[in-house]
C-alpha cells in the first residue's frame, strides 16, 4: 500500500456510506447504458437486461474489490466489528452491566492502588536529579544517629562533595492571627536548604547566604497551601509579616505547589545556631545534602570516612563513623513498603478474579452464540475473521470496563488520599496521572488477552457441521470443564485473600489487646510548645507547669492533670547514657521528662521506692525513676539487685539551646513499664526525670476527666488561655485515639486486604453461581429424565450442591496451598500470629464454603423444581 494514498483511504473509512452509494449509482448507470445498447442491437428487453448483467460480471464481488481498494479493509472491518460489538452488548444489557461492572471494579481498584505504588515506590522523587539528594548520618554500632553542630559545620565545608548541606529541625510555634492564636508546624533550616531540593520559589525568593548567621533579620518562606488558605493567595504577601511566638518575621517567598504542600510544615525559617549549641556532644541534627554533580555516593562515603579519621582528636565517640544514604531510601520504611506491596497484591488478585468471571461469562455466552458463529463461517467468514470479531467485542467490553474503572479509580483515590496521607512520605503525589492511565491501559490489554482470547478461540473453534448439528441438549462438554476450572481458580484466589485477611485481622486484634501499661479511658492529651521569647529560662517553664496543673485541677470535670514530654506509644524523644560508677559500659536508656502527677494520671503503679514527688524541683537533689525493664537489666546483666538509692550519671539535655550536661542523680524508685514505642515493640529501657528539674519546651498536657473527655475541652482551653492567651493547644487527642493512631500501620493494610477479600469472595461466588446456573439450564432435560425415573427434588438438589462442593473443595485446597506459599510475604506484617495460624485459616475456609454454598443454592433450588413433564415435552 503506497503511503500517499493513505489519507484518502483513511478518509474513505468515515465516508463509507456515501461511497457505497456512489458505487451503487455508477453500477446502475452502467447497466442501464449496456441495456440500451443491447436493445439497439435488437435484443428483447429481458435479453438485454440479462446480457448487461452478464457482461458486467459479479456485482457483489466487484463492490467488495472496490471497497478493499478504497480503504484499509482490516480497519473497516474493525469499525464494523466495533459497532457490531456495541450492538451485541446492547442486546444483552445484563451481561454487559455485570461484565463492565466487574472489570471496572478490578481496574478501578488497581489503578488507585497503582497510583500509590507509583508515587511511593516507583517514581523518582519529584525534585531535579533526585539521585544527588542524600542524608548524612553518624553511624554507631547500633545504627544511624544524628550529628552535632560542629560536625555538621565540618560537613558543610566539604564543597568538593556537596553543593548544599542543610539541617532541618521540625518545630511547632504559636502564630498570631488577630483572633485566637493557632499552632503551626514549621522547619528551621540552613540557608541553602532549598538548593538541596532544587526548588525555586513561586513568589519572592528563598533564603540568601548568610541569612542563617547570628544577627540576620528574621525572615520566613511559606508553603503554597498555607499562602492560599491562610492568606487567601494574597499577591502582596511579600509586604506582610508572620508573627511566630510573638516575634514578627518578614515573608520573603512562597514555594510552588507540590511536595512541600504535603509536608506538615507550613513555613521555613533559617536555623541560627546559638553559642551554646556549638559543641560535639549534642547529637541533634540530621542533615540532608545535594551531592556535587558527578560525585557518586560511594565517593562521598569514602571521602567522609577520611574526614572522620581526621577528626579523631575532637570526636570522643571513637567507634562512630560518618555515612551517606540516598534521601529516597529513608522516606519509605520496610513496613510501609511491605504493606503497599501486600495491598497491591490483593487488588491484583481481585482483578484476576474479575477477569476470570468475565471470561466465564463470555464462554457461557459463547456456547449460546456458537450457532451464530457457525452460520457466519458457513457464509464464508474465515476463522481468523471470526476470532478478530470476537476479540473486538471483548475489546469493546474491556474498553468500557477500563473507562469506568479509571473513573472509579479516581473516585477511590480521592476517597483514600485523606486516609492514607499521614502514612505516606510527603514526596508521594497521589494522582491519576499519565503513568497511572498508562498502567490502566496496560491492565485493559492484559484483561483483554485474559478474557477475550480463550473464549474467542473456543467459540470460533469447533467443526462447522458438528456445531450446527448439535442441538442445545445436555451438551456440557469440554467448555464446561474449562469454566469449572476457572471457577476453581477464582475460589482458590479468594481463599488466599481471605486467609491473608483473617491472619491480619487476628494479628490486629492481638495487637490491640496488648496492655499499654497505662489506663487510657477518659484521658485527653494535647501539645503545647513554650516559645523561647515568653519562656526564656528553665525557671519560667517550670513555673508554667506548676500553674497549668493547678488551674486544670480546679476545672470542673477534671480528675487529674499532668504535664509530660511525650505520650505513651509515641516514642521517647531522648536517648541518653546512664553511667553507673561500678560499670565501665554506660547503659543507653530512653529519657522521659514527666511531672509528679504523670504516673497518677495514667495510673502507672510504683513497684519499688517512690514515684516522682512535688518536692523534686529545681534546687532539690536531682532524682530519677526507672522502669522495670531497666531494673531487670541491672539485676540480670550487672547483678544489681536493688538499684533504688543508687547514684548514677545521666547526660541530661538542656532547656532550649542549652547543651546537655552530665548530672549525678539518685534512683528513687521503680515503676511498672508503660509501652513507649508502640504496642508491637517490646517495652524499652526508660528512665523518668522530673520536668521541674529539667524543663523542656515541647510538652503534653495529659488530663484524666470524670466523664467524656471532649466535654471538658472548652474549660481546659479557657484555663490555659487564662494563664497565657498566646499559647495555642495542638494535637488534641484522647488516649484512645493515640492508641488507634499507633496501630494505624497495621490497621490500614488489614482493612484494605479485608475489603478486597470480601470483594474477591463475592466475585468467586458470582462465578460459581454463573457456572451452576448455566449448567442447570443446559441439563434441564437430563434432570427432567432423572426425575421422571424416580429421583426426588432432594436428590437433584444434593446432586447440584455436590457438584458445587467438589469445585469449592478443590478451590480451597488450591487456596490453602497458595496461602502456605505466601507465608513469607505476610510473616513480617503479623504480630504474635503465625502465618499458618490454623484457626484463622479454618475461619477463612469455612467462610468461603458458606458463601459458595449460598451461591450454589439458588441454581440448585431451581433444578430441584424442574417439572419433568414440561421439560420432556419441550424437547419433544
Amino acid at each position: 500500500m503506497k503511503l500517499h494514498s493513505m489519507p484518502g483511504r483513511l478518509l474513505a473509512l468515515f465516508r463509507r456510506r456515501k461511497l457505497d452509494q456512489e458505487v451503487d449509482d455508477e453500477i446502475l448507470a452502467h447497466l442501464e447504458l449496456a441495456e440500451l445498447d443491447a436493445r439497439a442491437a435488437g435484443l428483447t428487453p429481458e435479453e438485454s437486461r440479462q446480457a448487461a448483467r452478464r457482461n458486467f460480471g459479479g456485482i457483489e464481488q466487484m463492490k467488495e474489490d472496490h471497497r478493499d481498494h478504497r480503504s484499509v479493509p482490516w480497519m473497516e472491518n474493525l469499525v464494523r466489528d466495533f459497532r457490531y460489538g456495541m450492538g451485541s452488548l446492547a442486546r444483552d444489557p445484563g451481561f454487559a452491566v455485570v461484565a463492565i461492572g466487574l472489570l471496572a471494579l478490578g481496574i478501578g481498584a488497581n489503578s488507585a492502588m497503582f497510583s500509590i505504588v507509583d508515587a511511593v515506590l516507583l517514581k523518582p522523587l519529584p525534585f531535579p536529579e533526585p539521585e544527588r539528594m542524600v542524608r548524612l548520618w553518624e553511624s554507631t554500632p547500633q545504627g544511624h544517629n544524628g550529628t552535632t553542630t560542629l560536625t555538621f559545620l565540618d560537613w558543610k565545608r566539604q564543597d568538593d562533595l556537596f553543593d548544599a548541606v542543610s539541617v532541618e529541625n521540625n518545630e511547632k510555634v504559636t502564630m498570631a492571627t488577630g483572633g485566637d492564636p493557632i499552632r503551626v508546624s514549621g522547619k528551621e533550616v540552613s540557608a541553602d536548604y532549598f538548593q538541596v531540593f532544587g526548588v525555586r520559589p513561586q513568589i519572592g525568593r528563598t533564603f540568601a547566604r548568610g541569612e542563617d548567621q547570628p544577627g540576620a533579620a528574621r525572615v520566613v518562606v511559606l508553603s503554597n497551601a498555607f499562602w492560599r488558605t491562610q492568606f487567601a493567595s494574597d499577591p502582596g504577601i511579600l509586604k506582610r509579616e508572620l508573627v511566630l511566638d510573638g516575634e514578627p518575621h518578614r515573608i520573603i517567598g512562597v514555594l510552588p505547589t507540590g511536595s512541600f504542600d504535603r509536608d506538615d510544615a507550613v513555613f521555613w525559617k533559617p536555623m541560627i545556631f546559638a553559642p551554646d549549641q556549638m559543641n560535639r556532644g549534642q547529637h541533634w541534627l540530621t542533615p540532608i545534602a545535594r551531592l556535587r554533580s558527578g560525585v557518586t555516593i560511594e565517593q562521598a562515603r569514602a571521602k567522609m570516612t577520611m574526614l572522620r579519621a581526621s577528626l579523631n582528636a575532637v570526636i570522643y565517640q571513637k567507634d562512630w563513623g560518618f555515612t551517606v544514604e540516598p534521601f529516597a531510601r529513608l522516606l519509605v520504611g520496610d513496613t510501609l513498603r511491605r504493606s503497599i506491596y501486600l495491598a497491591f497484591g490483593a487488588v491484583l488478585m481481585v482483578l484476576l478474579i474479575a477477569c476470570a468471571n468475565v471470561a466465564n461469562l463470555m464462554l457461557t455466552r459463547g456456547t449460546t452464540r456458537r450457532k451464530e458463529m457457525a452460520v457466519r463461517a458457513a457464509l464464508g467468514a474465515s476463522r481468523s475473521r471470526l476470532i478478530v470479531q470476537l476479540l473486538t467485542e471483548s475489546f469493546v467490553l474491556c474498553l468500557l470496563g477500563g473507562a469506568a474503572g479509571v473513573a472509579l479509580g479516581a473516585l477511590l483515590l480521592h476517597a483514600l488520599t485523606p486516609l492514607v496521607r499521614a502514612t505516606l512520605p510527603f514526596t508521594a503525589d497521589l494522582s491519576m496521572d499519565l503513568r497511572v492511565l498508562g498502567f490502566a491501559a496496560a491492565a485493559v490489554m492484559a484483561v483483554l488477552i485474559l478474557t477475550g482470547l480463550l473464549p474467542s478461540l473456543r467459540t470460533s473453534f469447533g467443526g462447522l457441521s458438528n456445531v450446527l448439528n448439535q442441538a442445545a441438549r445436555g451438551s456440557s462438554g469440554s467448555s464446561a470443564t474449562v469454566r469449572r476450572t476457572i471457577v476453581i481458580g477464582e475460589v482458590a484466589a479468594s481463599v488466599v485473600l481471605i486467609c491473608g485477611a483473617a491472619l491480619l485481622f487476628k494479628s490486629l486484634e492481638r495487637l490491640q489487646e496488648v496492655d499499654a501499661g497505662v489506663r487510657i479511658d477518659r484521658v485527653i492529651t494535647m501539645s503545647i510548645d513554650l516559645p523561647s521569647s515568653a519562656y526564656p529560662s528553665p525557671r519560667s517553664a517550670a513555673r508554667f507547669y506548676e500553674t497549668v496543673v493547678q488551674r486544670l485541677q480546679a476545672v470542673p470535670g477534671v480528675e487529674q492533670a499532668s504535664v509530660s514530654q511525650g505520650l505513651p506509644l509515641q516514642g521517647v524523644q531522648w536517648g541518653e547514657y546512664m553511667r553507673l560508677p561500678e560499670v565501665q559500659e554506660p547503659l543507653l536508656v530512653r529519657l522521659k521528662f514527666v511531672d509528679s502527677w504523670y504516673f497518677r494520671t495514667l495510673q502507672i503503679p510504683v513497684e519499688a521506692g517512690r514515684g516522682l514527688e512535688y518536692t523534686d524541683r529545681a534546687g532539690a537533689p536531682p532524682v530519677v525513676v526507672i522502669n522495670q525493664e531497666v531494673a531487670r537489666y541491672l539485676s540480670k546483666t550487672l547483678g544489681i539487685a536493688n538499684p533504688v538509692g543508687r547514684m548514677v550519671g545521666i547526660d541530661v539535655p538542656g532547656y532550649g539551646p542549652i547543651p546537655e550536661a552530665l548530672v549525678k542523680v539518685q534512683i528513687v524508685g521503680i515503676i511498672r513499664s508503660e509501652r513507649t514505642a508502640g504496642l508491637n515493640a517490646p517495652p524499652e529501657l526508660v528512665a523518668y526525670m522530673p520536668l521541674a528539674q529539667s524543663p523542656q519546651q515541647d510538652i503534653k498536657l495529659v488530663i484524666r476527666t470524670l466523664s467524656a473527655p471532649a466535654a471538658a475541652m472548652p474549660a481546659i482551653r479557657e484555663a490555659v488561655r487564662q494563664i497565657d492567651p498566646n499559647l495555642a493547644l495542638g494535637d488534641v487527642m484522647t488516649m484512645k485515639q493515640v492508641k488507634e493512631q499507633s496501630v494505624l500501620w497495621a490497621r490500614q493494610p488489614t482493612w484494605v486486604v479485608g475489603a478486597f477479600a470480601v470483594v474477591a469472595a463475592l466475585m468467586a461466588a458470582l462465578g460459581l453461581y454463573g457456572v451452576l446456573a448455566h449448567a442447570v439450564t443446559q441439563q434441564r432435560r437430563e434432570i427432567g429424565i432423572r426425575m421422571a425415573v424416580g429421583a426426588s427434588s432432594g436428590n437433584v438438589l444434593a446432586h447440584i450442591l455436590r457438584g458445587a462442593l467438589s469445585m469449592l473443595i478443590v478451590g480451597l485446597a488450591g487456596g490453602l496451598a497458595g496461602a502456605f506459599a505466601l507465608t513469607r510475604v505476610l510473616k513480617s506484617l503479623l504480630f504474635q500470629v503465625s502465618a499458618l495460624d490454623p484457626a484463622a485459616l479454618a475461619v477463612a475456609c469455612v467462610l468461603m464454603t458458606l458463601v459458595g454454598i449460598l451461591a450454589a443454592w439458588i441454581p440448585a433450588n431451581r433444578a430441584a423444581r424442574v417439572d419433568p413433564m414440561t421439560v420432556l415435552r419441550d424437547e419433544g
Partner: protein, 112 residues
C-alpha cells in the same frame, strides 16, 4: 461468450484505460469498458465491472480525475479524464510494456 477468449492480461487493464482516456478524452465507465471491448474485437474477455476498482486505483494514484456529468440515460455519472501525471504514467507504462514484450519475444525466438 466462447471458451477460447482469454482474460485481460494481468496488469494491462490500467494501461488500456489510460490509453483509452488519452486517445478519446473524458468519458464514463461504461464507454471505457465498451471501447476496450471494441478495440480488443473479442480477443479478450472483460468483466465490465472490473474496470471500476481499476478506475478507483488510478484515481487514488492521481493519474485520472473524475467529474460529475449526465449519461445518455439522464443519470448522474462520473466522467473520468487523464491528469498530467496520468499522461506521464501512460508513457512509462507503454515503455515498460514494450520492453517486456520485446524481452519475451527475444526469448521465444531464441528457443525456436
Amino acid at each position: 461468450m466462447s471458451k477460447e477468449k482469454a482474460d485481460v492480461p494481468y496488469g494491462t487493464l490500467d494501461l488500456l484505460i489510460l490509453k483509452t482516456l488519452a486517445t478519446l478524452g473524458p468519458m464514463h465507465g461504461y464507454r471505457i469498458a465498451r471501447r476496450i471491448e471494441q478495440v480488443a474485437e473479442n480477443l479478450v474477455r472483460l468483466n465490465q465491472g472490473s474496470i471500476y476498482p481499476a478506475l478507483m486505483r488510478l484515481e487514488q494514484q492521481g493519474w485520472i480525475r473524475t467529474q460529475w456529468g449526465i449519461s445518455e440515460t439522464k443519470r448522474k455519472v462520473k466522467f473520468y479524464s487523464l491528469t498530467k501525471a496520468g499522461l506521464k504514467q501512460l508513457s512509462i507504462e507503454i515503455a515498460s510494456w514494450e520492453r517486456a514484450t520485446a524481452l519475451v519475444a527475444r526469448f521465444l525466438e531464441a528457443e525456436s
